[in-house]
């Protein structure tokens, strides 16, 4: 794992002009989505559905008039 010697010529060829700071084209924006989608697609433990059922039994949702 060598550290990239970040010197003067490190600017890279790509200079995007994204209007928004987290545009779909930015590396940060892409990674952020990937990171989050990973979490969202995680399997949900049963305990949450059980919890909601318990809540419902204990105290049925109030009906709005």
């Amino acid at each position: 794992m060598t550290r990239q010697t970040s010197g003067v010529s490190n600017a890279g060829p790509i200079h995007r002009r994204d209007g928004e700071p987290l545009g779909a084209n930015s590396e940060i924006g892409r990674k952020l989505k990937q990171y989050y989608d990973d979490l969202v697609s995680d399997d949900v433990p049963d305990r949450f559905a059980q919890l909601l059922s318990q809540l419902e039994e204990a105290e049925p949702a109030q009906q709005k008039d």
Binding site: Q4, D18, S26, I28, G29, Q34, Y35, L55, Q62
Partner: protein, 182 residues
């Protein structure tokens, strides 16, 4: 009670997003699921205060966020001190330049202050507008914008990404990284 079934169903559908947000905030799987559980209980108790037709997801995120910060206050500064500040100066360098690894990104995200992390998550990943994010965080839209911007700059700095923004922090980052231009 069709309405209550609907509410329960809506809560169920919101769980994956809530868990992702909780995980982003707390950076800890157990704590995240506790937060989600607490959020569901509170949401159930307060459901009469939810106005149908308004944004349920934003309402739930607000509850979860409040719960997170209230737990943080109870725990004192433990979270920040142990996980945040000590590692804040450690730069994460992509193992392969140009190919940013997801683990590297995760580590970088952990180093952000909570307010910046939540802002960039809400805007860049959870799909909220600046206005919604401001509502969730109880602050001004301009504050959210500036937090997102600082979060993004900080991530670029930590990850040593350059050439992404035309006004980017490259010059500053280069100084911080100790690479002096002779």
């Amino acid at each position: 009670m069709a309405a209550s079934l609907g509410f329960k169903g809506d809560l169920l559908a919101a769980i994956p997003g809530l868990r992702a947000f909780a995980m982003s905030l707390s950076q800890n799987a157990d704590r995240a699921d506790d937060l989600v559980q607490e959020t569901l209980v509170k949401a159930w108790d307060k459901q009469s205060s939810f106005q149908p037709g308004t944004n349920l997801k934003a309402w739930l995120f607000t509850i979860l966020r409040n719960e997170f910060y209230s737990q943080m206050r109870k725990r004192g500064r433990e979270v920040q001190d142990s996980d945040g500040l000590l590692t804040a100066r450690l730069a994460v360098h992509p193992s392969q330049p140009g190919r940013l690894d997801l683990d590297d990104f995760r580590k970088a995200l952990e180093q952000l202050p909570e307010d910046q992390r939540e802002a960039i998550i809400l805007i860049g990943a959870s799909g909220f507008s600046y206005e919604e994010a401001a509502d969730i965080c109880g602050c001004a839209v301009g504050t959210i914008k500036s937090r997102v911007s600082r979060a993004r700059n900080r991530l670029q700095e930590i990850l040593d990404i350059s050439g992404e923004a035309d006004y980017g922090p490259d010059a500053i980052a280069a100084q911080v990284m100790g690479s002096t231009v002779s």
